[in-house]
Symmetry: C2
Subunit: 341 residues, 2 copies
């Protein structure tokens, strides 16, 4: 990406091993993330461009001498950040705060190759990658690809918002993260699942995924509608999925006293109206999802057919079509674009 | 209270039963709360004045026909709000959000008599009051008085910040709530208890209560000091107890990735810098403490001598001394003032 709206497919030096803990993955599937759209909307022009993509599945071509858990020929899925798997935060299941990788040192496209390309050097391969027990053309590949980010992010929202059997979950936002949050809320046993969204195709998919109620108003009218649907009390669990305008304030307002609000994705504003949750003892949590912690569990649910998050991909392209994929997602023509290689 | 700095002791109409669920309590002990100081600092002058006090213990003089759980002659302790004990929020242990009482309809001094007085009509007596199994001059009376608010508030902070055995807890603020939070953190098993405060007498008391480390710097220097004390990582549990200036920002900054921050007391500013907790997946919770939910449990710990929160009272006065008690707390001459009647 050279500037807002300017994505180009270009040749770069071949990915190759640098550290003995690296592998090189030949990418077979990649995806465009909602967070890739923030620079697509706003990036200042740069001379050298920025390498893009952090969601991919592929086959290991070459593995460093110290790599133990995966080997050449393995089909692997990567979380959107790489992490060492051994530090105190990785052991706690918070790989986004890995002291070597994570948000600081573990960014694809910045520290190493981007995932929207033919091959990627993956540092810290043992801590990062999970071997997939299927063939690279398996019918579940779209769903498995969501484990790199979007499904794990929705699951993180649901866990952080303390979804459990019998609870009411409200999901603010009908993008790919919001849709995966519907899947996650159902998986964790929510009794009522309210989606706040307006786009007909996305609403239809949300209903398929388990949404029981749809709220298409905005602002105060949305808050009123959620209250009506919840006996005047609000939702126990609110999952703020980078949704509508003023989504965070709406999320805080629709939470039931004593409930929990989770924020995920990449928030575009910093200040929170702290008084709204305070007076009703609502907990506000969330952050960048440690999707690595969830891959094994969600993988089982994908393979046994319990969840089918791959349905959020409503467009597929080859590498040459990536620039138009960005355009289509940015124009809301497509929910999410998968890249096949 | 007639205006900032203007507290008077005056005669008011005798407390009397209004509803059949009321009792009248003859007050034997009352206290001045840190939150009483906000109007003491800033209240606009009013014609009729405002009745004060929401922390008291007393003997029931008269009970309405529908009161079942307490009776005339019982010594009782009241939480700082009254609540019905039967609504969905009371059953959840969130009596501050009671649909009849709580923050909306359950305020002493507003809806009914103030606690800094000779007698109080207590609405919803069955849901509100807890009978004390001791005599009104028992040596534990100061500690029992803290169950009305300050000790329950510190305990709420510790619970909300998820204090548990082996964790590091940092307490921001050395006022009475901060000191009770130290007690609560120790009670819940924290291994390291860091108090952020500057006042020598309060620090000494905090150490007696179980604080293992003291941080007396402010701002960025305080953050650095806490990081040094925690292996560079920050505290798992941060209890923001209406402490230093910029206390909320400091609290958010010293939290360990994946940790929890609890806010209690009456915050004097609304906006939260949401980005600080977000990027490290820190949960921010808390609110007005549902102290009613904690009275029975804390009562046991007071009576068996495990905790002695009454030591936060470093001054005692009779009713006539209440105006000077406000002054002394406001000037930080006294941590907390007990009123004997």
């Amino acid at each position: 990406m050279y500037a807002a709206g300017d994505v180009r497919v270009e040749s770069v030096p071949d990915a190759h091993l640098v550290e003995p803990t690296d592998v090189v993955v030949r990418v077979t599937r990649a995806a465009i993330c909602g967070s890739d759209l923030w620079p697509y909307k706003a990036m200042e022009p740069t001379e050298g461009g920025r390498r893009m993509g952090h969601e991919f599945i592929g086959v290991i071509d070459d593995a460093g001498d110290e790599v133990r858990t995966v080997k050449a020929g393995d089909l692997v899925v990567s979380p959107f950040l790489f992490s060492d798997g051994t530090c105190t935060f990785c052991r706690d299941g918070l790989q986004t705060s890995c002291v070597i990788g994570g948000l600081t040192g573990g960014r694809y496209g910045v520290v190493t190759d981007g995932g929207q390309g033919e091959a990627v050097r993956v540092p810290l391969a043992d801590g990062t990658l999970v071997k997939l027990p299927v063939d690279q053309d398996d019918g579940s590949m779209a769903s498995l690809l969501t484990l790199t980010d979007v499904m794990g992010t929705g699951y993180h929202a649901a866990r952080t918002a303390r979804v459990s059997p019998g609870k009411t979950a409200a999901i603010v936002g009908d993008g790919a993260v919001g849709l995966c949050s519907v899947i996650a809320a159902r998986l964790l046993g929510a009794e009522q699942i309210i989606l706040l969204g307006r786009h007909p195709a996305r609403i239809a998919l949300a209903k398929d995924f388990g949404a029981t109620d749809i709220v298409s108003e905005r602002g105060e009218a949305a808050v009123e509608h959620v209250r009506e649907l919840t006996g005047g009390q609000g939702a126990h669990c609110v999952l703020e999925c980078v949704g509508l305008e003023q989504a965070v304030t709406t999320a805080l307002e629709i939470a039931r006293p004593g409930g929990a609000v989770a924020r995920v994705g990449v928030p575009q504003h910093d200040e929170l109206p702290g008084g709204i949750p305070f007076w009703k003892n609502v907990t506000v949590g969330g952050g960048p999802a440690p999707v690595r912690a969830y891959i094994e569990e969600l993988l089982r649910h994908v393979l046994d057919g319990t969840i089918e998050p791959g349905r959020v991909f409503d467009r597929t392209t080859e590498l040459d079509g990536v620039p138009d994929g960005y355009r289509a997602m940015n124009d809301r023509e497509a929910i999410k674009v998968m890249v096949t290689l």
